[in-house]
């Protein structure tokens, strides 16, 4: 079974977000390292959010897949029209 790229990106992005939130809220930051901690957690969360956005906006390049979606959509519309 092959995992779709968008799901892999989404899972990795979630891990990044959890890491960033952990560093920001639960991690015991050593004295004087507060700025570094803030930057690291910010970068992790930003990459995570961008990753989630990418996976949500992911457009398949498989023409069959988009054709299949269009056909399904058309079928639904014709079914609604017939009804």
């Amino acid at each position: 079974m092959r995992m779709e790229g968008r799901y892999l990106v989404a899972i990795l992005s979630l891990l990044l977000i959890f890491g960033g939130v952990y560093f920001k809220t639960l991690y015991d930051v050593p004295d004087g390292q507060e700025r570094l901690n803030a930057w690291v957690s910010w970068v992790l969360v930003v990459f995570g959010i961008v990753g989630i956005m990418i996976s949500a906006l992911w457009k398949s390049r498989n023409p069959l897949e988009s054709r299949h979606k269009n056909i399904t959509h058309d079928d639904d519309s014709s079914f609604e029209r017939d009804a």
């Binding site: 015991d28 050593p30 507060e34 910010w42 959010i49």
Partner: protein, 223 residues
Amino acid sequence: MDKSRILILAVGISALVAFSVYTFSEIFSSNVPGGGTQIQPIGSSSLTSTLTKTNSSLPPKGETNAPHGNATDTALSIFENRDKPENHYSIQFPSDATVVHGDRAGSYLASTKYGTFTSALEDIPDNTSVQLYVLTHDEPKLKSSLDNYTRVSIDENTVSGHRAWNLIYTWQNATSTMKSARTYVEGRDQAMVIEYTALSEVFAKNNPTIKSVANSFQWIDAA
């Protein structure tokens, strides 16, 4: 571009902006005074009466707050520190002391003619305890940095409901023997270190003041 894509973009960008504001507002809006900035007390304390009761050479009535050259006669002033989130505290220093902010956030330095008090926050790693930290980290550091470091005592007690450890030691500066007392008070996030340093012969006379300052310490908003 369809509506769902616009919605995803809007939610994503809002999340980015919100997290950025949350992260950096704490850092850049910090209003911690610089080292050496004089700090004004927020009030004075009633601890003096308790203090003078323990003193065998009580001054005449009505002069309990006047400086007499004896540290036990000195009134205390209340200071509050809110430099670090989760580590707000209040402490009282003798009212004749000049109190300035230390170099680090959350630290005060109070100079009196009888010696110097400092209060500073100490970051204790999660994988150790205050007592272990004192014995394995702070004391070795003192031994290596002070001439003729000698531990006088270390004992456990309680300061405003929190476990605390008192470390008393002597050391040698260029001209004389000094004596210091450090009180480490456990906190929710960091520990508080209250230190008093004076000439060895002056130290004993100021024991009641040292105790009053240490016992006046309180964590603010602590659970």
